[in-house]
């Protein structure tokens, strides 16, 4: 899943740095992720993983790193089995 998240991040996150250089736990906001970039990223993630982020998960922490995104998606998927 992380590979897929990284691909999406690369194509939609508009990061000024190469996504491949970032560790799973690296802070994406420090790497230049903007709030508008976050929206684009969320849209692409919802589409790719066929999930919808509920209101209470749309916060900074859930999109702060590749690992955090994976964790958030897994949480949603486990709640909708």
């Amino acid at each position: 899943m992380k590979t897929r998240i990284r691909e999406i991040l690369k194509s939609t996150g508009k990061l000024p740095v190469d996504v491949a250089t970032l560790a799973d736990e690296a802070d994406l906001y420090n790497a230049g992720l903007t709030s508008f970039g976050t929206v684009e990223l969320m849209m692409a993630l919802e589409e790719a993983f066929e999930v919808e982020f509920p209101d209470n998960m749309m916060n900074r922490r859930n999109f702060a790193s590749v690992a955090a995104i994976e964790n958030a998606i897994r949480t949603i998927q486990s709640e909708h089995v």
């Binding site: 000024p16 906001y29 903007t34 709030s35 508008f36 929206v39 684009e40 969320m42 849209m43 919802e46 919808e52 982020f53 509920p54 209101d55 209470n56 749309m58 916060n59 900074r60 922490r61």
Partner: protein
């Protein structure tokens, strides 16, 4: 992380009793503000006519020690609640909107220190100074050269020189810049950094010079003295706030600015309604036994004011509950809620004053009657353009490709 959140994480039971000033102490602060509001009301006409700083009210606010009340008790302040501070903004604005707005802007600056700087030695000691010396804080977040009111973009950058830094900013609008004791100013992290990679620094009056490039001569809010200046300062690098301005803008400025501005605007609206009530009462006394026709409009207006009050009170309540919860403060729902409060409150104030005109008629339109609404209307018209509502709605609209609102009616 705030002290509260850290305590909660460490497993401490938080009691229902809020930390900070006691309820009686906060009532006493509001009572003091009411006395100062009487003084502000006496001078409001002159402040407006001459577009001058309301110095009588601010000397009194310093004397009564109401400038440091947001500062945590650990740093020598009173640690008043946001509800108390909002009430003081409204009480002052009922007498003189400029006084209320300056007080609100000062507290918005204080909030950035309170939220982000508790663990930073220089800023913690500066908070103690604010409380001790009752310093008035101003803000320099705008800039000339096309940046204008986009506070998330800077041209100038911090230049490091040994342990110090220098900062020169051109054409920035600084409300009461000439009267402030310290200025919180934004810039790029370095001159080479991108425009949005910003920091905020605190400089005290002895550390900068201001050269006025344009005077504040406006329709309303004339006492805020929001002149344009060229700022030139030098200070030790430890005075740069350690967290990024992106975080400050989102987590302390956004909620505090929108809620405290809304409180000021509520104060203007409440005063317009009070004048309309006075007018209806005097009409009723002239013809005992019959209800004046304007009373119907007043009944409608009271409902509108109640709606406005509910908006602000619910917003304050939401912020109080979100404090210390970084997830909630950074959530889309919270951002949308705060943006919406600003937009609705800034529209409501103008609409309410406008409706009060229908009640007061020519007495409201006159400058010299007790029911005059002229200054209130001019002050109210600043609200939708103080951070233009279109800019705010634009920011909200950027989120709507993914955002879903919470339909629940419970808190």
């Amino acid at each position: 992380m705030t002290t509260l959140a850290r305590l909660a994480e460490a497993g401490y039971q938080l009691t229902a009793e809020a930390p900070g000033a006691s309820a009686e102490a906060q009532k006493a602060m509001i009572a003091k503000a009411r006395k100062i509001a009487k003084l502000a009301a006496e001078h409001a006409g002159d402040v407006d006519a001459r577009s001058r700083f309301p110095h009588e009210a601010f000397e009194a606010l310093k004397r009564e020690r109401l400038l440091g009340i947001m500062i945590p008790a650990a740093h020598g302040g009173e640690e008043a609640s946001h509800a108390t501070i909002a009430e003081i903004c409204s009480v002052l604005a009922q007498a003189c909107a400029s006084t209320g707005m300056i007080y609100a802007m000062h507290q918005i600056k204080a909030s950035s220190l309170v939220v982000h700087c508790n663990d930073d030695p220089w800023h913690a000691s500066f908070m103690a100074r604010i409380a001790r010396e009752q310093l008035l804080l101003a803000s320099a977040t705008t800039e000339g050269g096309g940046v204008g009111g986009d506070l998330r973009s800077s041209i100038c950058g911090v230049v490091r020189e040994g342990d110090d830094f220098t900062l020169d900013k051109e054409g920035c609008l600084i409300s009461y810049g000439a009267q402030a004791d310290a200025i919180l100013i934004t810039s790029r992290r370095t001159p080479e950094a991108p425009p949005s990679d910003q920091v905020m620094s605190v400089l005290t009056k002895d550390q900068y010079t201001l050269e006025r490039s344009a005077a504040w001569d406006t329709m309303g809010m004339r006492g805020t003295c929001s002149d344009n200046f060229t700022f030139s300062g030098r200070a030790p690098a430890e005075q740069i706030i350690p967290v990024s301005f992106a975080e400050i803008a989102a987590q302390s400025m956004l909620p505090n600015a929108h809620l405290l501005w809304a409180s000021v605007w509520y104060g203007i609206a409440a005063e317009a309604v009070a004048r309309a009530e006075g007018f209806v009462r005097s009409e009723a006394r002239k013809r005992p036994g019959s209800t004046p026709p304007s009373a119907l409009r007043l009944a409608e207006l009271l409902a509108r004011l109640q709606q406005f009050k509910a908006l602000v009170v619910a917003g304050l309540d939401r912020y109080e509950r979100a404090r210390g919860d970084a997830d909630e403060l950074s959530s889309m729902g919270f951002v949308v809620a705060m943006n919406s409060i600003k937009v609705v409150a800034s529209q409501s104030v103008g609409e309410i004053v406008m409706q009060a005109f229908l009640i007061c008629g020519i007495q409201g339109y006159r400058n010299d009657s007790p029911a005059s609404l002229a200054r209130l209307m001019r002050d109210a018209l600043s609200a939708p353009i103080m951070i233009n509502n279109d800019r705010i709605l634009g920011n909200t609209s950027n989120l709507l490709a993914v955002y879903k609102h919470d339909p629940s009616l419970s808190r």
